[in-house]
C-alpha cells in the first residue's frame, strides 16, 4: 500500500519534472549569457552615491541580474568597497535573489502571468523598502 502510493508519487513527480526540462534548460542557457555579456564595470557606472536613488538603481540592477546569490554577495561587497552606499548594495542583493526578470516567462507559464508580474513588481519595491529598513535599524542599534 505504502510502496504503491510512493511509486505513484514518484511517477507523478518524474512526469512533472520531465515536462519542465526544456524550460529549465532554457533558463539555464539564458542565465549563462548574463555574466558573460554584462561585466562588473557596466554595473558600477549606474551608482551616483545618493542612498535613495542608488537603492532604486540597486534594485533595478539586481532585478535584471541572475545567478547564484554568492555572485551578488561578492559583487555587493565590491560595490561597498568602491563607495556605493549600504542601502544600494542591500537593495541590489535583495532584488538579485527575490526578483527574477530573466525567469519571468518561465514563472508566468507555470504559475500564471498575473501572479508572476505582481510578485516580481512587489519584490522589486520591497527590495528598496527592505534596504531602507535594514540600514535604518543598523544605524539605530
Amino acid at each position: 500500500m505504502i510502496i504503491d502510493k510512493l511509486k505513484k508519487s514518484a511517477i507523478k513527480s518524474f512526469k512533472s519534472l520531465y515536462k519542465m526540462l526544456p524550460l529549465i534548460l532554457g533558463v539555464l542557457l539564458l542565465v549563462s549569457l548574463i555574466p558573460v555579456l554584462i561585466p562588473k564595470s557596466f554595473y558600477l557606472r549606474f551608482f551616483q552615491k545618493n542612498p535613495i536613488l542608488d537603492s532604486v538603481t540597486g534594485s533595478i540592477i539586481g532585478s535584471i541580474s541572475a545567478g547564484s546569490p554568492i555572485t551578488s554577495y561578492i559583487l555587493g561587497g565590491e560595490f561597498l568597497k568602491d563607495g556605493v552606499s549600504l542601502t544600494a548594495v542591500t537593495a541590489f542583493i535583495v532584488a538579485w535573489v527575490t526578483v527574477g526578470i530573466i525567469q519571468l516567462p518561465a514563472e508566468s507559464l507555470i504559475l500564471g502571468k498575473k501572479f508572476a508580474i505582481i510578485r516580481n513588481a512587489t519584490s522589486f519595491l520591497f527590495a528598496i523598502i527592505v534596504a531602507l529598513i535594514t540600514v535604518f535599524l543598523l544605524n539605530v542599534m
Binding site: S16, L17, K19, P22, I24, V36, G76, L80, Q103
Partner: protein
C-alpha cells in the same frame, strides 16, 4: 487539456528562442558564445544534485500533501501555516525556477498565491551561504537583514493573497 498543450508549446518555443540567441551569438562573437556555453556546463553540474533534491521533495510533497492534508493543515489561515511556508522557503535550495513545478502542484492543491510568494521570497535567505554574507557584511547586518526579509515576506504574502485570491 488545451491549456496544458499550449503551455508545453510555450515552453518549447522559449527553449528554441534561447537556442537561436546562442546561434546568433556564435556568429557575432564566437568567444562569448564559448564562455556562455562553459558557464552553462558548470551550472548543469551544480544543478543536477539540486534537481535530485527537488525530485525527492516533490515525491514527499506528492505523498503527504493530499487534499485531506491541505484541509487539515492549510485551510484555516493561521500563524502555523506562515511558519511552515517561511521555513520551507528558507530550507529550499537551488535556483527559483527549479521549484516552479512543485509550486504549481501546491497551487493546484489549493495553497493561495500569497503563500507561494512568501515561499519564493524566503528562498532568498540561504543558510549555507550565510557565512559568505557575514564575511562581506558582518553578523549584525546579516541578522537584521534576515529578520526584515522574513517580516516583509509575510507582508508580501498578505498583499498578494488580497490582490489575487485563488480561483476555485
Amino acid at each position: 487539456m488545451k491549456n496544458r498543450s499550449k503551455k508545453t508549446r510555450g515552453i518549447l518555443y522559449f527553449l528554441i528562442a534561447v537556442i537561436l540567441v546562442y546561434i546568433i551569438l556564435a556568429f557575432i562573437n564566437f568567444n562569448l558564445f564559448l564562455s556562455s556555453l562553459k558557464f552553462f556546463c558548470n551550472l548543469i553540474i551544480q544543478i543536477v544534485p539540486i534537481l535530485i533534491l527537488v525530485f525527492i521533495l516533490m515525491v514527499i510533497a506528492n505523498y503527504f500533501i493530499t487534499p485531506k492534508f491541505i484541509t487539515k493543515h492549510f485551510k484555516e489561515p493561521g500563524i502555523k501555516k506562515w511558519i511552515f511556508i517561511i521555513i520551507g522557503g528558507i530550507l529550499s535550495t537551488g535556483p527559483i525556477f527549479m521549484w516552479y513545478p512543485l509550486l504549481a502542484e501546491l497551487k493546484e492543491k489549493g495553497i493561495g498565491y500569497g503563500y507561494l510568494a512568501t515561499f519564493l521570497y524566503n528562498r532568498a535567505i540561504k543558510i549555507p551561504l550565510l557565512p559568505i554574507a557575514i564575511f562581506y557584511f558582518g553578523l549584525k547586518y546579516v541578522v537584521v537583514l534576515t529578520i526584515v526579509m522574513i517580516f516583509i515576506s509575510i507582508i508580501q504574502g498578505i498583499i498578494i493573497n488580497r490582490i489575487l485570491p485563488l480561483e476555485r
